[in-house]
Amino acid sequence: MFNNLQVFLIISTILFILGILAILTRKNAISILMGIELILNSAGLNFVAFSKFSSGNLNGQIFALFIILLAAAEAAVALAIFLGLYRQRKTVFVDQASELKQ
């Protein structure tokens, strides 16, 4: 009953919407990073669902693998930037750090 493409696409759509909402409404930079992770997960879920139901080969799974790799690199660099921001400004709230110069 639930084992079809639409169910997985709807789950990943809801994940995507929640990620966008986290990016738009949160002020803490680390929460925004969590929203980005939700969006990357939803994209990976889409790739794997299409690979299972629609394409019949494994290319979608390889794309999802590269998405996981890019997410790891992105999270490491982003957190290093946030630590540097916190060291300079004593805050990670993005609305208090909206200017490049102090």
Partner: protein
């Protein structure tokens, strides 16, 4: 309703509910821990979609790496004496309207599209993925290793204390 349907329903609901908690929880540390359940739920959905290697990679990289990094980030960028690491939000209701309409549009699009059906057989995927990575996707594979090294060096360089620059 067989066992597979129950598993899809359970893990789908787990993923969605914990992601909702990630987005709306007032305490950022709670939303970081809730992200754990989202990652596990997505890994279980990968398993249901016969992506065994990808599910293992998801657990290893996301739960073992990224989540630990995020929790470290939360704890390092807050004052330790302040146990209630509160989170502020802005313009929640203004954001909800366009995003909700986009989501509704996407779900209607998904429901009323005639998707092509071409099922993947349920079999182990690791050997095939390895062969494809080395043969078809070898340039992307090598480029991603260079990217990982660059990101690692950049993260170390950015994360260092500032007065280290003068020592050299």
């Amino acid at each position: 309703m067989n066992f597979q349907d129950i598993a899809i329903l359970f893990f789908g609901l787990l993923t969605i509910l914990s992601a909702t908690f990630v987005t709306f929880s007032p305490k950022i540390l709670y939303s970081a821990f809730s992200l754990l359940f989202t990652f596990f739920g997505v890994a279980a959905l990968y398993l249901i979609l016969s992506a065994d290697f990808l599910a293992a990679t998801q657990v290893i990289v996301y739960v073992g790496g990224i989540l630990i990094l995020i929790i470290f980030g939360v704890l390092l960028t807050a004052r330790i004496t302040n146990l209630e690491i509160l989170e502020q939000t802005q313009q929640r209701f203004i954001a909800l309207l366009p995003i909700g309409s986009i989501g509704l549009g996407l779900i209607l699009l998904i429901l009323f599209t005639n998707w092509p059906i071409n099922l993947l057989p349920n079999e182990p995927t690791t050997a095939t993925i390895g062969k494809k990575l080395i043969l078809t996707y070898v340039i992307a594979f090598e480029a991603s290793s260079v990217l990982l090294i660059a990101a690692l060096i950049g993260a170390v360089r950015l994360g260092r204390e500032r007065n280290d620059e003068n020592v050299q």
